[in-house]
């Protein structure tokens, strides 16, 4: 039985992999249709992804001050009102979403790539290499990541591109997923189908990518969501504290300006400008968490609602 499973996964070529993807997608949508919170989550993610992708092209940003338009309340012309210098708040939110989403997805990508390479090799090779890797992982898990991030970001003396910001955040946050993937690999390695693959004389490369990796996919997908959530936290936080130079418009920068330069605490006119990024951050994070819930249900049948 188990040997047969090994043979099947062995025959799985690239074309079958693609078919698998298609059926997985179909299955995902089936669950999403039933699970409305997950659909809401996906909707929010798609909304902000679109805002980041095409918003800035459609809705121009003009940073020229118009002192006569200071703190206008929301209107048709300025849907979210204007800031302290008479600039449109919605334009800043839309243009800010691009850097927020870009950094979030890039960080997710980097963390996942680093963790896959290090986690799988550590779990598969084992021995001294594994021991050394795990000591390093332990250290990175212990050092409080946000203060470390602050120190690193503050010592870079120039403006950073989204890729660079994402690399810095990934450098601080890779350890958790690496350790998780490594322990998954450790338990998968003991499965019978891996042993039969070994008996068939299949190479390590084949075993890692065709036998072990597919069972890690759900795990990685869920952690990608979590990494994105924490990347948004870190990045908006860094701009909020004013650690990194204000290059472009970012939601964190807006929060910082509203609170510490425009006395957003006392002046109610600042509220549209202050709460726009607040609501956006809450929405994006909620979207990813709701979607994560559905992913958990998709990959873990035991969690599926009874009516399934």
């Amino acid at each position: 039985m188990i040997g047969a499973k090994g043979l099947i996964s062995l025959r799985k070529g690239i074309s079958r992999g693609l078919q698998g993807w298609a059926s997985e997608l179909k299955f995902t949508f089936k669950i999403l249709k039933r699970d409305r919170t997950g659909l809401v989550g996906l909707g929010i993610i798609v909304f902000f992804a679109l805002m980041a992708a095409i918003g800035p092209e459609v809705y121009p940003l003009e940073m020229m001050p118009h002192p006569e338009d200071r703190f206008l309340p929301p209107s048709l012309e300025h849907p979210l009102g204007t800031d302290f210098a008479g600039r449109d708040t919605l334009a800043q939110i839309i243009h800010g979403s691009r850097s927020v989403m870009a950094v979030a997805f890039l960080t997710g990508l980097f963390v996942v790539l680093i963790s896959i390479v290090l986690g799988i090799s550590s779990g598969y090779i084992g021995g001294k290499f594994d021991m050394l890797m795990m000591r390093i992982v332990d250290v990175f898990l212990t050092i409080p990541s946000f203060p470390l991030l602050v120190i690193i970001a503050a010592s870079v003396n120039r403006t950073l591109s989204p890729v660079e910001v994402a690399l810095i955040i990934a450098a601080v946050e890779w350890a958790g997923l690496t350790r998780a993937i490594r322990s998954q690999v450790l338990s998968i390695r003991e499965e019978n189908y891996i042993e039969s693959a070994r008996c068939l004389g299949l190479g390590a490369f084949h075993i890692i990518f065709n036998e072990i990796f597919p069972s890690l996919k759900p795990y990685i997908a869920m952690n990608l969501c979590l990494t994105i959530v924490s990347a948004i936290y870190s990045q908006v936080g860094l701009y909020f504290l004013g650690v990194m130079p204000y290059t472009s418009v970012n939601w964190g920068t807006m929060l910082n300006i509203a609170l510490y330069r425009q006395s957003g605490l006392l002046n109610r006119k600042v509220w549209p400008y202050l709460f726009s990024p607040v609501i956006c951050v809450v929405l994006v994070q909620t979207g990813f968490i709701l979607f994560l819930h559905t992913l958990e249900e998709i990959f873990n049948p035991r969690l599926r609602s009874e009516e399934a």
Binding site: L141, P144, S145, L148, I152, N157, Y233
Partner: protein
């Protein structure tokens, strides 16, 4: 390898790496703060030599010495408890931190305990009422609130509860009129000022405790010893406390370590937003004015606090659950 030895190695390695990171970031990076500082002094009309002595008074730094000697001296100073002088406040960093640490430890420990107890209680309750409307709504709220950054909740609280409604103070650790000391007014004022930071922490962190307590409780409820206890006719209260509660709570302690780190990390935001005079506020002040000695001092202290409390939490956990000591190789 022995479990305790492994923890000690981790503790030492973490501190060594944190100290080295601060050393290299501040001195070695291109355009590093020390060079910038020397340039600033020179722009004020100092000669290079004078600027160098001024900087050396702040941080024991000698650019002409080989790197390993500099590194060695840096360590020697730190081990003596000398973190240099704050560049902007002209006070020894260790002295500033001495004032700040108690407040931070106070806030973090109260927050950790409250969010732990709130989470555990709600988790058990949700597990007993699983499938109910209460369970669904509190679980959803827990998973969403957990993902909302501290600073977002903090900003909302400070704007509405502190400034607009004036229910809580918006800044400081105690009121202006009270004299610090062991008296009712002072203690009351301290607790009152700590309320909003603590609530911010609790709202953003209880979800993790609650969700895992709920799933642990549900799985323990299915154990045979619980069924047996029921069959023996033990009172429900006793079953839920000693049979279910104790076993369900045990795995939560492994998460204590991660949680402590997360809380100390969030201190930068929570204390800054509520202008609370702890390490986090000083760290964010130091970032604002690029005060490197204060910044690295705050970072090292936060790291040491996290490492040590991790270590203690791990040791306690190994006391509570002997399986850890014996199975972990």
């Amino acid at each position: 390898m022995n479990w305790v030895v492994r923890r000690i190695i981790n503790l030492i390695l973490t501190i060594i790496i944190s100290v080295s990171v601060t050393f290299f970031l501040v001195r070695i990076m291109p355009g590093n703060p020390v060079d910038t500082l020397i340039q600033q002094y020179m722009m004020q009309g100092y000669s290079y030599k004078e600027a160098l002595t001024a900087v050396r008074a702040l941080i024991s730094y000698m650019p002409n010495e080989p790197l390993h000697i500099q590194y060695f001296n840096y360590w020697k100073a730190i081990l003596r408890g000398d973190l240099g002088r704050s560049i902007t406040l002209a006070t020894p960093v260790s002295q500033i931190l001495g004032f700040a640490v108690p407040w931070t430890v106070f806030i973090v420990s109260i927050s950790l305990l409250s969010s732990f107890s709130v989470g555990v209680l709600l988790g058990v309750y949700a597990a007993y009422k699983r499938g109910s409307l209460f369970d669904h709504s509190i679980s959803l709220f827990a998973s969403i609130s957990r993902s909302i950054p501290h600073y977002i909740i903090g900003v909302v609280f400070v704007v509405f509860l502190a400034v607009q409604l004036r229910l809580f103070p918006a800044y400081g650790a105690y009121g202006r009129g009270v004299t610090p000391g062991f008296n009712i007014q002072f203690i009351g004022s301290v607790l009152y000022h700590a309320a909003l930071p603590v609530i911010t922490y609790v709202v953003t962190t209880f979800g993790g405790w609650m969700l895992s307590m709920k799933s642990n409780t549900i799985s323990v409820l299915g154990e045979y010893y619980v069924v047996a206890a029921r069959a023996r006719g033990l009172p429900n209260r006793r079953i839920s406390l000693t049979y279910v509660g104790r076993n369900a709570i045990l795995p939560l302690f492994t998460r204590f370590a991660i949680s402590i780190g997360y809380m100390f990390g969030g201190v930068v935001f929570v204390e800054t937003i509520f202008s609370y005079p702890g390490i986090g506020s000083y760290l964010s002040y130091a970032i604002g004015v690029r005060d490197w000695t204060l910044m690295t001092g705050c970072f090292l202290l936060i790291t040491i606090a996290v490492v040590v409390s991790n270590f203690v939490a791990d040791l306690l956990y190994s006391r509570l659950d002997p399986r850890i000591r014996f199975t972990a190789k």
